[in-house]
Amino acid sequence: MATYIRPARKRKCSKTIQEPKRLVTPGDVITSDTDFMRGHGTYMEEDKLHASVAGVVETVNKLICVKPLKTRYNGEVGDVVIGRITEVGQKRWKVDTNSRLNSALMLSAVNLPGGELRRRSAEDELLMREYLAEGDLISAEVQSVFSDGALSIHTRSLKYGKLGQGVLVTVSPSLIKRRKTHFHNLTCGASIILGNNGYVWISPMAGAEEEEGGGFIQNLEPVLLSDREVMTRLKNCIVGLAEYRMMLYDTSILYTYEASLKYTLEELLKPELMEEVVEDTRRRLEQET
């Protein structure tokens, strides 16, 4: 069918869910005990600790913080992020990483063609647009956080750098589960990078990497149709998981992928079928734990 229109569905009345303990909303008093340390999402007033966002209170030792359901990305050193170049400056690129300020990628924080130990010359400054231009995507690691909250990122490792062919999916950063590794070669035949900032990159399975050119040369050969089908299905699965607010990590994605196999790619676009697939996955994950 070329087109598919239907009357809007009524949203399912969600079953009454028990309110989690220690759920707070802005302005709520968390504690009047002064022994605690003030974390994110809280503020002090009149010697009482108040919440400033809506979420569940988390206490780690003496630190109290409230994590909202979704926010812009709050970078931490060591996080894997995916970013898009928005501006080429004189010694740095400005990168959109879904944080509240653009991140900076210094010219000195990238591996330039010709080996790691190469000295950066004035010519490199003029050639910056040749390496990374506006719109290009990179994977990188958070190197440090500036005082105003902006991030400084680097790509000085072979696993980071400019991204080639693939699809980007953006989800809320809070849906990305923190893992040891965020780079996965999924058994279904595609690789994904789950950026901590909520940007997910799906690409064809990395073959024999040609490491010449320091990763600035892109392979623009057509992707095999079979690989493309896998990637497309993965994309739809990740979009579906995010839509129904499931955490994203290799297992959940893989299970959803497997559950989705009973439908064709076009069928998966229908919300009710996607919902069914996600519920199947949820059940399977719950059984395993």
Partner: protein, 288 residues
């Protein structure tokens, strides 16, 4: 339009995908994303509709008001289109940011609806040269996920289907003065015949192939597209080429054929959904 920037790799992936007939969301080249439609969303309008096409969300409110006929057509009423690209859809549209695109869409709609066959305009006239119905069709774009033209075209047609214009009686009093009396019975209304109204179909050229219902990402890869207004019979009631590239006659012919096919399909699907929803539907709107 709310534009997304893409890297060369992403563009290549999309273009090759279209070449292979498999788009990044799993659709084939001539398929639309599923749409959800509801009518009667805003209760203080004569007719309204809300359409959701993936991330594109359109709200249309129709208000019929009394006005003076245009001097060029003294015995016809007329439609007036207004598009509001609200800042809700994208911060780019804040202030006057969306005005240019909004006029472009409104112009296209005006051209395609301003035809003899589309609507019985004479029925909208109350008193020649003095009084007629002016049907304001106001479109608000609440979210923008690509393919604005087509989504607006469908939503407008649905809102007009939902429109109820009060019946008007003209009485001549003893002094020969004409008096207009508008019926306030909610069931004593005139409905508009929508079966000749067109829908818009945008066929975008990507690489060597063309697709319908392009997403924002696909629109970023598209250099030229043709916006066609297609009626239920499959005839073109308006066509415009947009974009910065030129097209060969062969590809134009192919694109027109696709447009006709998809347009007729859209029209027939839309009319069956509208029948299902019914003329006097009202719904809860955003709470659902």
């Amino acid at each position: 339009m709310a534009k997304v920037q893409l890297s060369l790799g992403e563009k290549t992936f999309i273009i090759h995908g279209v070449q292979d007939g498999l788009r990044t969301d799993g659709r084939s080249c001539d398929a639309f994303r599923p749409m959800e439609l509801e009518c009667g969303v805003v209760s203080n309008t004569s007719g309204s509709s809300r359409l959701r096409l993936s991330n594109t969300e359109i709200l249309v409110g129709v208000k019929a008001e009394m006005g003076k006929p245009r001097p060029t057509r003294p015995n016809e009423g007329y439609l007036e289109f207004f598009i509001d690209l609200s800042a809700n859809a994208s911060p780019e549209f804040e202030g006057r940011g969306g005005e240019e695109l909004a006029t472009e869409i409104a112009n296209t709609l005006t051209l395609t609806y301003d035809l003899k066959n589309v609507l019985d305009y004479q029925a909208l006239c109350v008193l020649p040269q003095q009084c007629c119905w002016v049907v304001y069709v106001d479109v608000v774009v609440l979210e923008c996920g690509g393919n604005l033209f087509d989504a607006i075209g469908i939503a407008v047609k649905a809102a007009l289907y939902n429109t109820r214009i009060p019946k008007v009686k003209v009485q001549v009093d003893s002094e020969g003065q004409e008096e207009i009396e508008v019926s306030d019975d909610p069931h004593d209304v005139v409905l508009l015949d929508t079966c000749n109204m067109p829908v818009l179909v945008t066929v975008s050229k990507i690489g060597q192939q063309h697709v319908v219902d392009a997403t924002l990402e696909e629109e970023a890869c598209c250099l030229a597209c043709i916006v066609m207004a297609v009626n239920a019979k499959g005839a073109l009631v308006g066509m415009e080429k947009k974009g910065s590239s030129s097209l060969t006659m062969d590809s134009i012919q192919d694109m027109i054929t696709t447009g006709k096919k998809v347009g007729m399909n859209l029209n027939s699907n839309l009319s069956s959904v509208l029948q299902e929803i019914g003329r006097d539907a009202s719904s809860s709107g955003f709470l659902s």
